[in-house]
């Protein structure tokens, strides 16, 4: 039964990692301009105009 406890603890750690990743994305401004981010994918920056 103890193996379940380890599994659960592992899950909790993974969840914390996900949370940390989310906080990082929030802090680095990735939610500031969702519309723009979606549009910029279409821009062809490799070729000079």
């Amino acid at each position: 039964m103890n193996v379940v406890i380890f599994m659960i603890l592992g899950t909790v750690v993974l969840a914390l990692v996900a949370l940390a990743a989310f906080i990082w994305s929030l802090r680095s401004g990735q939610y500031d301009d969702p519309t723009g981010a979606a549009a910029r994918v279409l821009l062809d920056n490799d070729r000079p105009e």
Binding site: M1, I8, T11, A18, L19, L26, D32, L43, E49
Partner: protein, 738 residues
């Protein structure tokens, strides 16, 4: 290549041709050796727009960063060197977009911080819910679980959900505490109580090796509520930004005359009383001011509602919003922009306060009804079980179950979710709500009072197609192109692009003269060109060797004014026209729009008085207006709407601002408001029925954590789905009533 198209290359937004009307240099700030300017862009909506605008700006000398935020419609430009800020705006305007400098808003920053806080709280609650659910499944379905393992799982759930609830629930706890300290009740009180009681009871059960805990229910409740809160905050911010964008397009910077007669560009917000300002022809007055020198004409459309420009003379007081037309004037500022505006608003809102505070929101009524009832029921359950001989802990368990299962969730979400969805739908259609209860008030109106100038009409005069030949129009247009008078602009617009007359001279308050094809010509008032006639909505044009011609003008109705009025009437509303303009013009506008009930020459006091009359008769009035003369009525009315071109005071005094040329926004807004009221009532009806079923189950002690979790999520989902019905079904329902 893309630069050939004016405005959005995808055609998603109309091109916004416009002239550079303000000097943005007052808005430039210095950050780390770079000069920074924030601009509001209008008409940008796709990747092509980003590329077009950013590329154009990056070509400017010294430009370091130019990044367009498509969500907020703002661009931040950072550059080094002596590039003039006006060049930046010109570059954007040339591409076919509207641009205006904005204050790098601190308010915006604050809003996005609280929104980010909510997003973080939401994520924490979400992850915690997932984690706790993982263990709850074992607890719900693992009937052969040994007591020891069960307690271990309970401890794990506790270690996740207690910190998560305390962290993510702060919004609710703080708001509930603030309400209690004012000895009031709001929805956050039962929510906080349910959350904290559930945690306390579950912790007690965990310590005493009990069978049932509510850790899952408490984090899930929190998750649902936070989703609602977050969406609400996001929508509010979007509506705020959109309303700001409308405002930014109108704000002006001004030219201040310094002590040595030096002119400097200042922000409207920096003007102090006693400042001398130079108002060029075509500029809008940023503050209430007194004319010092210069004779001119002023367009008072936004202030009084009169289409015809008025002459101005030294000593006269002009209100903010007046547009100077023919000659530059020097004025003395009487009040700072913010204060004169704030004072106006304060006065207006004071008048309107009584009306609006007397309105009780449906949700508040529900809370006042629901909270005591549930708490009494819970207490009765507690006492009842004690009398029946149950243990103290079992009685407490039943009481807390009642608190949790009667689920503040469905009731807390019932009204806000509907309002969020309705406001989102209005937002997409170009209408920006100021508050949630505005919708409820709009839904219950019985009368609509429309203002004429700028509301029923577009506010710009149009040339009538009678009394002149195309050659005469072309000749007159040469003079008209040199003038900023609205009638002249109407002539220039009718004639299209073309040459400008030579030796043009403006005669303030009278007209313009010049040489057209080598012949002396004059355009202006009757006596100015030497014609016999009265002054009115017309201009006279005289050219050497020919008789004077008269050009007549008319303030054009919004294209769908009649359809909108008809639709309002079909919706069972009585429509009335109330205008400050002259009886003949109001009468003809009313006839064209199909309004039988109209009153002209209405002063602001008369408008307010008429409102009181109607309300005394038991009517609930929806006021639609844009001018300063409507502001008092807008603030006093049961509900009010303002078109996007309205003056600041009117926009702030109204419940909802709609943009665009269509007057059909008015019936559409009312329709959506009525529907959202119906949805809210359905939701409350559902929540009441749900509670009728859930309370007996909880009182009898049958509500296991599994039952609670299913009941809670199911009721929230039903309320949410009902609210979402508002989002779909577009114009078919609102426009197709004919």
């Amino acid at each position: 290549m893309t630069a050939l198209v004016s405005g959005c290359p995808s055609g998603l937004a109309p091109a916004t041709p416009g002239a550079v009307t303000q000097d943005p240099s007052a808005f430039v700030t210095e950050v780390k050796g770079r000069r920074v300017l924030d601009l509001m862009i209008r008409g940008a909506s796709c990747a092509g727009c980003i590329a077009k605008i950013e590329t154009a700006l990056m070509r400017l000398p010294g430009m370091q960063v130019a990044r367009l935020n498509l969500s907020t419609g703002r661009i931040r430009a950072e550059w080094t060197g002596g590039l003039a800020a006006t060049i930046i705006i010109e570059a954007i305007v040339k591409l076919g977009y509207g641009a205006a400098a904005v204050d790098p808003g601190q308010a915006d920053g604050a809003i996005s911080r609280s929104e980010k806080g909510l997003l973080l709280a939401l994520t924490v609650a979400g992850i915690a819910t997932a984690g706790v659910m993982l263990m709850s499944e074992a607890l719900w379905f693992g009937t052969d679980l040994p007591a020891e393992t069960r307690t271990q799982l309970h401890w794990l759930s506790a270690s996740i959900s207690i910190p998560a609830t305390l962290f993510s629930g702060r919004t609710f706890f703080q708001s509930a505490w603030a309400a209690i300290r004012r000895s009031q009740l709001n929805m956050d009180v039962p929510i906080s109580l349910a959350l904290l009681m559930a945690l306390a009871l579950s912790l007690h059960a965990t310590i005493t090796d009990g069978a049932h805990t509510y850790f899952d229910a408490s984090v899930m409740l929190l998750l649902f509520l936070l989703i609602g809160r977050y969406l609400d905050a996001r929508l509010r911010r979007q509506a705020y930004a959109a309303a700001n964008a409308l405002a930014a397009m109108q704000t002006t910077s001004a030219t201040r005359l310094g002590s040595r007669g030096l002119a400097e560009a200042v922000r409207a917000s920096e003007i102090r009383p006693g400042d001398r300002l130079l108002i060029a022809a075509g500029e809008r007055l940023p503050v209430n001011a007194q004319v010092v020198t210069g004779e001119s004409e002023a367009d008072l459309r936004l202030v009084t509602g009169e289409v015809e420009p008025a002459r101005t003379f030294p000593g006269q007081t002009l209100y903010a919003g007046a547009v100077n037309l023919s000659a530059p004037i020097e004025v003395l500022a009487l009040a700072p922009a913010s204060q004169s505006l704030m004072a106006d608003i304060a006065r207006l809102l004071e008048a309107g306060e009584q009306k609006k505070s007397s309105y009780r929101r449906i949700a508040d009524k529900a809370v006042a009804f629901y909270v005591p009832q549930v708490h009494v029921t819970a207490a009765l359950g507690f006492v009842g079980w004690l009398i029946a001989g149950a243990s103290l802990s079992h009685a407490a368990f039943v009481a807390v179950t009642v608190l949790i299962i009667t689920c503040p969730c469905a009731i807390a979400l019932a009204a806000p979710l509907v309002q969020i969805v309705a406001a989102g739908r209005l937002f997409r259609e170009g209408a920006y709500l100021s508050s949630g209860d505005a919708l409820e008030r709009i839904a219950t109106v019985t009368h609509v009072i429309l203002d004429k100038t700028g509301t029923l009409t577009l506010g710009d005069p149009m040339l009538l197609q009678i009394g002149w030949t195309p050659d005469q129009l072309a000749a007159a247009a040469q003079l008209a192109r040199a003038s900023r008078h609205p009638f002249s602009r109407a002539i220039a617009q009718a004639a299209g692009p073309g040459p400008v007359a030579n030796a043009v001279e403006e005669h303030s308050g009278s007209g313009v003269s010049g040489l057209v094809d080598g012949r002396a010509a004059m355009l202006g008032r009757a006596e100015f060109v030497g014609a016999r006639g009265v002054d009115g909505s017309h201009l006279w044009f005289a050219i050497e060797g020919a008789d004077p011609v008269m050009f007549r003008f008319e303030d054009r109705l919004r294209p769908d004014a009649r359809a909108a009025v008809d639709q309002l009437r079909r919706m069972g509303l009585s429509v009335e026209l109330l205008s400050g303009d002259s009886p003949e013009r109001v009468g003809s506008a009313a006839a064209t729009a199909g309004i039988t009930d109209w009153r002209a020459s209405a002063t602001p006091q008369f408008k307010a008085q008429r409102l009181q009359e109607l309300e005394a008769e038991g009517a609930r009035v929806l006021m639609v207006g844009d001018g300063l003369n409507d502001a008092a009525a807008l603030a006093m009315a049961h509900a009010s709407l303002a078109p996007g071109g309205a003056v600041d005071v009117s926009r702030l005094a109204s419940d909802c601002v709609f943009s665009g040329e269509s007057l059909e926004s008015v019936p559409r807004i009312v329709t959506i408001a009525r529907k959202s009221r119906a949805r809210i009532r359905e939701n409350f009806a559902f929540a009441a029925v749900y509670n009728l079923v859930a309370i007996p189950i909880a009182l009898l002690g049958w509500a296991t954590p599994l039952v609670a979790a299913i009941a809670m999520s199911a009721s929230s989902a039903i309320v949410t789905l009902n609210a979402l019905r508002l989002a779909t079904g577009g114009r078919r329902e609102t426009g197709g009533a004919a």
